[in-house]
Symmetry: C2
Subunit: 479 residues, 2 copies
């Protein structure tokens, strides 16, 4: 993956930049020692690494604004960072950038159960948002796998989803408002604790904008009352395509499970060795979970199980109690970690129409054979959000490049199937050069012109989202 | 309401403009006789009227593009129009504009039940989208009161909702993609039949943009499987505030009816005289509807009725059969028409946090007494979307201005209660000068800069959404 050469004039001014930042921030908020900035050299797409010039950890919106003003005045690029769990390199530094981490902005500002919202600082982790309201019987719905660690700021940047977004939607469906700081230090508020907004819907634009438009420091989030109960069913099949067809039929029937998760043989076997969830020996597993009162659960599962039986399942296992439910989920939740134990891998994130699942799964199998790289499939099948894990050997010269090439083919396949390049991980650096496969030049031009409005200097989160040559020309033109 | 003076140089070129439009469109597609353009002089906010220069009725995206190119070259403003049902003056012409009506773009382009979407031309009416898929057991969820007449183009422009949007969301939650033509004639596609989108979420921005950014000619819409059944309950109370508190408690309990509609005494009595729905004598009525299987309906209603009983109801009437259900809805659906029989009225559209309902209803009552104008309240209470109907006499000098002043106070009250100026009707001309009450100058500046990206000439749907002086300066600067 090409990265722009660092601006040498910025590197030569490091001491001055650090001093200016120190002058507007608390003492321990500027990290600049070479050994310490290494902590920020990558995010969860760890194949790519580059230590930043320095990092700042402000504790208030005003300190974020002060940091951005300094960088804006001095022409220094800024890479915003939540918890660094991006799988698309969304928080990857450049050598000449300041990392702006929001981790210390982690407080709860307001909870309102009557109007069902919570207002938090953006560095708060996803799971601790639910933690702040669960005693009252509420929860925050989007649940990325990294929810223990990932920050709301990153969830907003990537429009994150999770296993349960089939029913509850992704971040954009659960976000009511933000406080955001623009690159020039202007503080702005968008949306609020109400539905809809007059004028242009900038909130929808901000959500998923990957740190290209501003740094979100506060968020107002919809909270929901916890359902009475939930029950997963494990469904085993001897064919990926049949499992895919079963998913399509469930969706077509109009029942709405909270989650439909898919795992193929590589993921099943690997996670079984790692976590011993008691999964059966089969080619493909589905975990389908429904929610509600016991009567509602029974009714929904009756429909779903009837559909599954028509697809010649190896096994249908309905959780009898909380223990069995937890075991059914255990293997799925361990899958990424388990694959990580046996191989380096790159996790893709394409979205396709659900009816294309069988075709896309078959084609991924063919590509795996062609490239000689194993692929594990574990993903949110109900909304067509694929997560192929391509295994490669980071120590074998050329293997990463092979993996990248295969990943690009899979993502193009998703686009050609009527889908798109990303479901919830974002474009980051990983998919930026594939954007021309998704968008016509004039469509990309409009997106970049919208970025011009918020960040005319193109200093914010450089070399990401847009094709590198396009964003670099824009940056140079702005100088 | 101030409107800009027409550009005399455009009026003087009418013959040339009409000829140019005729040269790119079918013969009967350009309407220019003075008697005929009167049909386009207003939308459903009929207090304001102005015949346009002429109107065009293209039948394809290419004809829309050709029309826009002509107007762009000749510097003529364009007002896009769906079915003209806007309650905010969203399709009000200026004397120097070309009305671009999409009514003839009304075909179904594709239905896909596996992936649950339909692709239609944007002039298709809302109800006929459901009409195209109901034989297969599907429906399109957003259901504005005007759904028999209103066009999908207008639904997208205003991000329309309806009685059932409490459960299913508004247009933005049901829109997957659009084909859109920019003011300069560029045809662009945004979104598609998949979740999420890489890069900036322009689809969210387009939805609700009130014809400021482009003219949508095709839309890909989510369709849903029809629920097994639905059942409304009528709840009568002797106090508006108590009814409001009951709504807040239902929402707080976390049950999700598909609709919670509210009517106050003026609306109840007027619609009862008009439609004889058999409503009881009371101060406030709620209609709460739930959906699902008979068991699911029973379970949800049990929770809801238990909450209602705590609020000392005059009557709780659960529909026993389809006839009784239809009668319960009849009065609500007739309310606007019934008020229209006894008085001229202006229908407002503000959104507030649900917990503020009792306070806002009380304050509206006080304002009604202060201004000496009757107010009927009939609205989507579940999501805090208020529709106060202010009665006035169009033939009494000064009464419209009094009504406008009172409307402005009510909308400011909504903003101050933590809500916003509009739920689903849009800003249009009606609320454009109140935008400064909702937004700080720099926030409005960003919105207008985003408009610059799509329509740098500011020729599209002039004098709306943004405060008149701001949009006029922008237009002049662009010339």
């Amino acid at each position: 993956m090409d990265m722009p050469s660092p601006d040498l004039s910025i590197l030569s001014r490091k001491a001055e930049i650090v001093a200016r930042l120190q002058s507007v921030l608390p003492k321990n908020a500027v990290i600049h020692a070479e050994s310490e900035v290494r902590a920020y050299e990558c995010d969860a797409l760890s194949a790519y690494r580059c230590p930043p010039l320095c990092a700042v950890l402000p504790t208030s919106t005003e300190e974020v604004a002060a940091s951005l003003r300094v960088c804006h005045e001095m022409g220094v690029p800024v890479v915003p960072r939540g918890s660094g769990t991006s799988l698309a390199g969304g928080a990857l530094p450049t050598a000449d950038c300041v990392i702006l981490g929001v981790a210390r902005l982690n407080g709860v500002l307001e909870t309102n159960y009557d109007d069902r919202y919570i207002r938090v600082q953006s560095g708060r982790t996803n799971l601790s948002v639910t933690g702040a309201v669960e005693a009252e019987g509420f929860f925050y719905a989007p649940d990325p796998s990294s929810q223990l660690a990932c920050a709301i700021a990153g969830n907003i940047a990537m429009n994150s989803g999770g296993a349960h977004c089939l029913k509850y939607g992704v971040t954009t469906n659960n976000l009511l408002g933000v406080k955001m700081v623009l690159m020039d230090g202007t503080i702005t508020e968008i949306g609020g604790a109400h539905l809809d907004a007059p004028g242009l819907d900038l909130l929808g634009l901000i959500c998923g904008s990957e740190g290209q438009l501003g740094v979100v420091t506060e968020a107002t989030l919809r909270i929901l009352r916890k359902p009475e109960g939930a029950r997963p069913v494990l469904m085993a099949f001897n064919d990926n395509e049949v499992a895919g067809a079963c998913v399509a039929d469930i969706i077509k029937a109009g029942v709405l499970p909270v989650a439909i998760e898919f795992m193929d043989r590589l993921c099943i076997e690997t996670s079984e060795k790692y976590a011993q969830a008691g999964y059966p020996d089969c080619e493909a597993l589905l975990i389908v979970e429904v929610e509600g009162s016991p009567a509602e659960i029974d009714e929904q599962l009756a429909v779903i199980l009837a559909i599954a039986r028509k697809h010649d399942p190896v096994e249908l296992r309905e959780a009898k109690d909380a223990d069995e439910a937890a075991r059914i989920w255990l293997g799925r939740k361990s899958a990424f970690g388990a694959i990580g134990q046996i191989s380096d891998y790159m996790c893709l994130d394409g979205t396709i129409p659900v009816s294309s699942l069988p075709m896309v799964l078959r084609r991924i199998g063919e590509l795996s054979a062609e490239y000689g790289l194993r692929v594990g499939n574990v993903f949110h099948a109900g909304d067509g959000n694929m997560h192929p894990l391509i295994c490669y050997d980071a120590n074998k010269p050329g293997d990463l490049e092979l993996c990248e090439a295969m990943g690009a083919e899979i993502l193009k396949l998703c686009v050609d199937a009527g889908g798109c390049l990303t479901g919830e991980h974002g474009v980051g650096i990983e998919k930026r050069d594939l954007m021309t496969h998704q968008f016509a030049p004039q469509d990309l031009e409009i997106q970049m012109a919208v970025k011009d409005v918020f960040d005319p200097t193109w200093l914010l989160n450089p070399a990401k989202v847009f094709p590198l040559n396009a964003s670099q020309s824009r940056r140079i033109a702005a100088e």
